[in-house]
Symmetry: C2
DNA sequence: AGAATTAACTTGTAAATACAAGTAGGGTCA
DNA sequence: TGACCCTACTTGTATTTACAAGTTAATTCT
């Protein structure tokens, strides 16, 4: 179902270099080929290359220094929770296990714990709903609920979410990119359900994040709620 | 002390339009003059104008729509706490009162509650330290501690922080722009001091943010800690 | 040998130009 | 009147060219 649309050149270049960095072709501290070299490699011109690099800079994959070059910073950590990627990339994937509490299913929207109003189309189509628990070093750390409109996501409910980030699946399988969003953060006390899932006592402070994310597909929004036991793993983010 | 350096054109244009939006010359929903019109006004070419607009898009001041134009979104709200601006712009300035708990003073670094290691230079020069309490509708909401190295910030300790955001002062008076940073978020229980300042009971959950911000001045970092009573005012952010 | 200069790189800024793609409104035709 | 099309506008992408400014390393001079 990979939709190989006609991406603009600068995005193609961006994707290639981005993949090289996340695949370890370029390591942290390495210096990328110069812009002129990249022009030659990708058969294009500097403005195009620079536009691709701009994006990599913005997302934290590289830093540039005039007169020197583009320095690889590695896969950005913790951009995640506070900015664009999913929880998976926020804490690094090393010791992270994802347990599916509620497998993706199509159901009616549960508007009770949704901080945002729904659009008509969204309500009509119903929603894909799932709950996940993220476990770091045998300790549950995140408990998250995700809801998204059931629009043009064929076969989604049969996909395996366990080891892949939701965002990756959306990007590679459905050509949906998360372009931004808004969120509300608050500290709360764990209720019964949270106490159970996150294995904490009554009165334990929990970080609660309620987010609405917009995507490259117009009118397609993701809604998620994250409950985080930040006692051992503070949420780290760059901006 | 305004350092009127030679800004590149696209930054000049960016600053002008940005100011127009925050001053209300352009209101939310307005459509900016077309890129070609802006070219004529600012006597430059589209790539330059587009670079300025790119930045405004990225910061959330405007949105662009192909075939239509650049739509003004207003001053971005809540980019603040979670991204670039200071606390002041995170919640809107309407009902926000800032109370200075500890006036800016030069002192030794207090490394005890600092999550980041200090550089040698920073430690040598000492730090400018202050504490502020942010009050919304008569309820204290934020309590924040800011530390920054005492390097080339003449007259800073005599400046009035009450109604201006720290970031604005740094940008306009010292030409220092916050370019990014990192932060750790966690939910904690209010200790004695926080209970007192934020007027909450024992066992009340508090959102704690520990941030290190980097600036356009190389090697100049800001350190701040924010304690937030998120009960009534959830922290809102866009990304 | 050591210090200063220079040359050859790097990225940063800027202009001029061209065409593609999306939007909106006016005009034409049925 | 209504549906359609076309045109004029918008932003999106891309090339080409030029010079400025910062970095690095080799070269030259003392």
């Amino acid at each position: 179902m990979r939709l190989s649309k006609n991406l603009p050149q600068y995005k193609v270049v961006y994707e290639i270099i981005r993949k090289h960095i996340s695949d370890g072709v370029y390591l942290k501290g390495d210096i990328l080929p110069s812009e002129n070299e990249l022009c030659a490699v990708h058969q294009t011109t500097r403005p195009t290359i620079r536009k691709a690099l701009d994006r990599l800079v913005h997302e934290g994959y590289i830093k540039k220094k005039q007169g020197k070059g583009s320095i690889v910073m590695g896969v950005p950590q913790g951009v995640g929770i506070l900015s664009l990627s999913g929880t998976t990339s926020a804490v690094g994937q090393e010791n992270l296990i994802t347990e599916i509490i509620v497998k993706p299913e199509i159901r009616q929207w549960d508007t009770s714990n949704l901080a945002y109003p729904l659009l008509n189309d969204e309500e009509e189509f119903g929603c894909i709903y799932f709950e996940r628990l993220r476990i770091m070093n045998k300790q549950p750390v995140f408990y998250d609920i995700t809801m998204m409109p059931n629009i043009n996501l064929r076969r989604f409910i049969s996909r395996n979410l366990e080891n892949k980030s939701l965002f990756n699946i959306l990007r590679t399988m459905y050509d949906i990119e998360v372009t931004g969003g808004e969120q509300r953060l608050m500290a709360i006390l764990a209720d019964k359900k949270i106490q159970e899932y996150l294995n904490v006592k009554e009165g334990h402070p929990i970080l609660h994040i309620n987010r609405k994310m917009e995507t490259s597909r117009e009118g397609f929004f993701l809604y998620s709620q994250v409950y985080c036991n930040s006692e051992k793993y503070a949420i780290f983010g760059t901006f």
